[in-house]
């Protein structure tokens, strides 16, 4: 089994508006963590991974008519998918292309902005449906003329990793030939205040896997992959393959991860089994690594349970982007594919001291290394744990 071919990708995040910009930030160690300027919040002391383009600017880039009603999550997604389309050399997506989008926030930005306006101001009522994440997906689908299999996965911070997994399964089962998978989430007051109420936001730049980590920085991003069946590839370059995947529920707590990292352990095990590889074949792990006390410890324990003393090179790229929630899995899938293509490991920034409990040290400097197989982890609220394995083509 070769795995499902990835034949296109597109991305926007706090470290760049396209693949080239993002790659250049990753190799030069330039993070995208700043104080909020676009998001209108009182919490100006909380660093975020914000994309410094307003909704209006994004709309102009996308040539949208003035009176549109796209949510910010949709705008970011459209920006990313447009890049994917452009680079795929397709004029437009073929009619049978499926679309599976992961999102946690959806269109909450529009609901929080207009909650008190709906009663009196008729023009804002077009956003009433935005509470429902599928509305955002539908608007994106409309923009690209995707009319067939279109759905939304919303499993908090593993949403887009799950979308990638489902896309791979749809192709494997023969139900689809071609599918756009990934996810998008924008910064909102709702999520910033929510994570703040959970006391897991850091007032400094996030420090994944560090003993003195203080919490996460919220981010925003969109990233999508094009997956295609073998008979659609026809000599097109294959960027990498979705070789393995697995989802498991921690079944421990609504938000916290278990001490033994059971969900993570099972998700990684499933992905390795599906890929039909040995754990020792994994060259690099793009860890979930949110930089909360709880996640990083639980994830370390799971890694040690899987790999024993030989934990492969790993890093959390959330130190660059912040935690873009539902989009994170797809963002890190793109980073994993960049690692594979370029034989490079992007560093875990802001790391100083290893965790006393597990003593694991991430890769802290940009590194050249032969990379064939990458494991990418995404864990979310509700105990939702997903692991994906990407591999070099052939």
């Amino acid at each position: 089994m070769k795995g499902i071919a990835v034949t296109g990708m597109g991305i926007i995040s706090a470290i760049g508006s396209n693949l080239e910009e993002i790659y250049s930030s990753l190799i030069s160690g330039k993070d995208g963590i700043s104080y909020p300027e676009i998001l209108a919040t009182n919490h100006t002391n909380l660093p975020v991974g914000e994309i410094k383009l307003s909704d209006l600017e994004l709309s102009e880039i996308l040539n949208l008519p003035k009176a549109h009603f796209y949510t910010r999550t949709a705008l970011l997604a459209m920006h990313a998918i447009k890049e994917l389309l452009k680079k795929s050399e397709l004029a437009q997506f073929p009619e049978d292309t499926g679309f599976i989008s992961g999102t946690s926030v959806g269109g909450i930005d529009k609901i929080e902005a207009h909650f008190y306006d709906f009663q009196d101001i008729v023009e804002y009522r077009k956003y009433i449906q935005a509470q429902h994440p599928g509305f955002t997906t539908e608007k994106i689908a409309e923009y690209f003329g995707l009319t067939q299999t279109v759905t939304t996965i919303s499993t908090a911070c593993s949403s887009s990793a799950n979308a990638i997994m489902m896309g791979a399964q749809l192709i494997e089962s023969g139900r689809l030939k071609r599918v756009i998978v990934g996810g998008s989430d924008c910064l909102t007051k709702f999520t910033l205040n929510g994570f703040s109420s959970l006391k897991i936001l850091s007032e400094n730049k996030n420090r994944p896997f560090d003993n003195d980590r203080e919490g996460l920085n919220l981010g925003e991003a969109a990233a999508y992959l094009l997956l295609e069946a073998e008979d659609c590839i026809k000599g097109k370059p294959v960027l990498g393959r979705v070789k393995g995947y697995g989802n498991s529920n921690d079944a421990f707590h609504q938000t916290a991860s278990s001490e033994n990292g059971e969900g993570a352990f099972q998700a990684i095990s499933k992905a390795i089994k599906k890929a039909g590889i040995l754990s020792s074949e994994i060259d690099y792990i793009n860890v979930h690594g949110t930089a909360t006390r709880n996640n990083d410890l639980s994830e370390s324990v799971a890694l040690k349970r899987i790999f024993g003393r030989n934990v492969p090179d790993f890093s959390s790229t959330k130190s660059f982007t912040g935690h873009s929630l539902g989009a994170a899995g797809a963002v890190e899938a793109v980073f994993s594919l960049l690692s594979i293509q370029n034989n490079e490991i992007f560093p875990n920034l802001n790391f100083d001291t290893e965790m006393s409990e597990t003593g694991l040290t991430p890769v802290t400097n940009f590194q050249k290394k032969k990379i064939r197989t990458v494991l990418s982890n995404s864990f979310g609220f509700g105990g939702n744990c997903t692991s994906l394995i990407f591999q070099k083509d052939a």
Binding site: T41, N42, H43, G106, I108, E112, F115, Y116, F118, Q119, R125, I128, Q129, Q131, H132, P133, G134, F135, T137, E138, A141, L146, T147, Q148, T149, V150, T151, T152, I153, S154, T155, A156, N162, M166, Q169, L170, S173, R175, K189, F190, N193, G194, F195, S197, L198, N247, S248, N249, A251, F252, H253, Q254, E262, G263, Q266, G380, F381, G382, G383, N384
Partner: protein, 352 residues
């Protein structure tokens, strides 16, 4: 290909499950229909129950009942379709945040506002480590979960799949749907939904869950055959899409014994159903359910419940009928639903 049998079912809706046995239907007039009260304490622990919104309660309660009927303790997979998700908690956190202008906020409602709260709580309650997914795609949320059920059963190790649909209502957020034309402006009697000449529909809260298994049991209900979702489609090609779907399952239109339609009394979009009623299914027994249980993003799970009951008990209660045709021995049932002319879903069930 392995088969998927419906081995346990449970529904909570504005109607009692006994409506299938001919009990008098509940009547509503204000266009937002509440689910029937349940003895939640009989199955859910009080310490868990205290934080649960209606949707979580309904979902977990139905999940446990369906699994119980199928004699499954822990399923291998948990799949939930919920369009609006946990609206009550979303609304609670949102309004507290706006009123306090981002002041000091209590975290519980934020935690519970994520769309996968129901699926997560079921996993937590059952201590189930299996594949756990939540789909939120308007009127095909439940259908999307069914697609995943078909994908997961490709894995030979998967024996039992829990799949369900749930949607709750909340004061403000559901109320807004009166403003944008989703809910009918004038109060409308639910039982007279189909004679409505106005736009909009009646909205409800409901849940229905199913234990699907790869093994047939003595008391299995039916076989779940296939599902398809189509995001947008011209009315003109609806019939040919349905024909293709049936063909894929080696069936002709004439072999469909009953068609369950998601007609919701919205004159702007009911023509999709009218066309089927007057066209390809004019000689088929036609059923409706939204005059009883209203509409919401996961309500096709109620149609799935209804089809399961019909195929097991081999009878069709009159209250669901949209035409006068009878069907002595229902074998194949097709479910078709859409909302606002988008997100079309097709589901096929077959008797055993």
């Amino acid at each position: 290909m392995r088969k998927l049998y419906i081995n346990g079912i449970s529904s909570i809706s504005p109607q009692n499950e006994a409506i299938f046995k001919g009990s008098t239907p509940q009547q509503y007039e204000n266009n937002i229909l509440p689910a029937q009260a349940q003895d939640y304490k009989s199955l859910l622990q009080p310490m868990m129950l205290r934080r649960m919104s209606k949707g979580v309660k309904m979902g977990l309660f139905c999940a446990k009942k369906a699994l119980d009927e199928a004699e499954v303790k822990i399923p291998d997979v948990i799949l939930v379709g919920t369009g609006q998700g946990c609206m009550e908690d979303t609304e609670k956190f949102l309004s507290n945040m706006l009123e306090s202008e981002e002041g000091l906020l209590s975290p519980t409602s934020f935690i519970q506002s994520t769309h996968n709260t129901v699926a997560g709580q079921i996993a937590l309650d059952l201590n189930c480590n299996g594949h756990n997914m939540t789909f939120t795609q308007n009127s095909v949320s439940f259908e999307s979960a069914l697609i995943d059920a078909l994908l997961q059963q490709n894995d030979q190790n998967i024996k039992n799949i829990l799949v369900g649909g749930v949607d709750e209502t909340s004061n403000e957020l559901t109320g807004f749907q009166r403003l944008d034309g989703q809910i009918k402006k004038e109060g409308h009697r639910n039982l007279e939904l189909y004679s409505s000449q106005t736009s909009g529909t009646i909205i409800s809260e409901a849940a229905a869950f199913f234990a699907l298994g790869s093994e047939k049991l003595k008391h299995s209900y039916a076989e779940f055959k296939d599902v398809e979702i189509i995001n947008s489609l011209d009315e003109k090609i609806l019939e040919s899409r349905i024909e293709n779907f049936l063909k894929r399952n080696d069936l002709l239109v004439s072999q469909i014994d009953a068609v369950i339609l998601g007609k919701n009394g919205d004159i702007r979009f009911d023509q999709y159903y009218d066309q089927l009623q007057n066209g390809m299914f004019s000689a088929t027994c036609q059923l409706g359910y939204k005059h009883l249980v209203g509409d919401n993003n996961a309500i096709s799970s109620y149609a799935f419940w209804l089809a399961s009951k019909i195929l097991k008990e081999k009878k069709i209660p009159r209250i669901f009928k949209l035409n006068a045709l009878n069907c002595a021995r229902p074998r194949n049932i097709l479910i078709y639903n859409q909302y606002l002319g988008r997100n079309h879903g097709l589901i096929l069930l077959q008797d055993l």
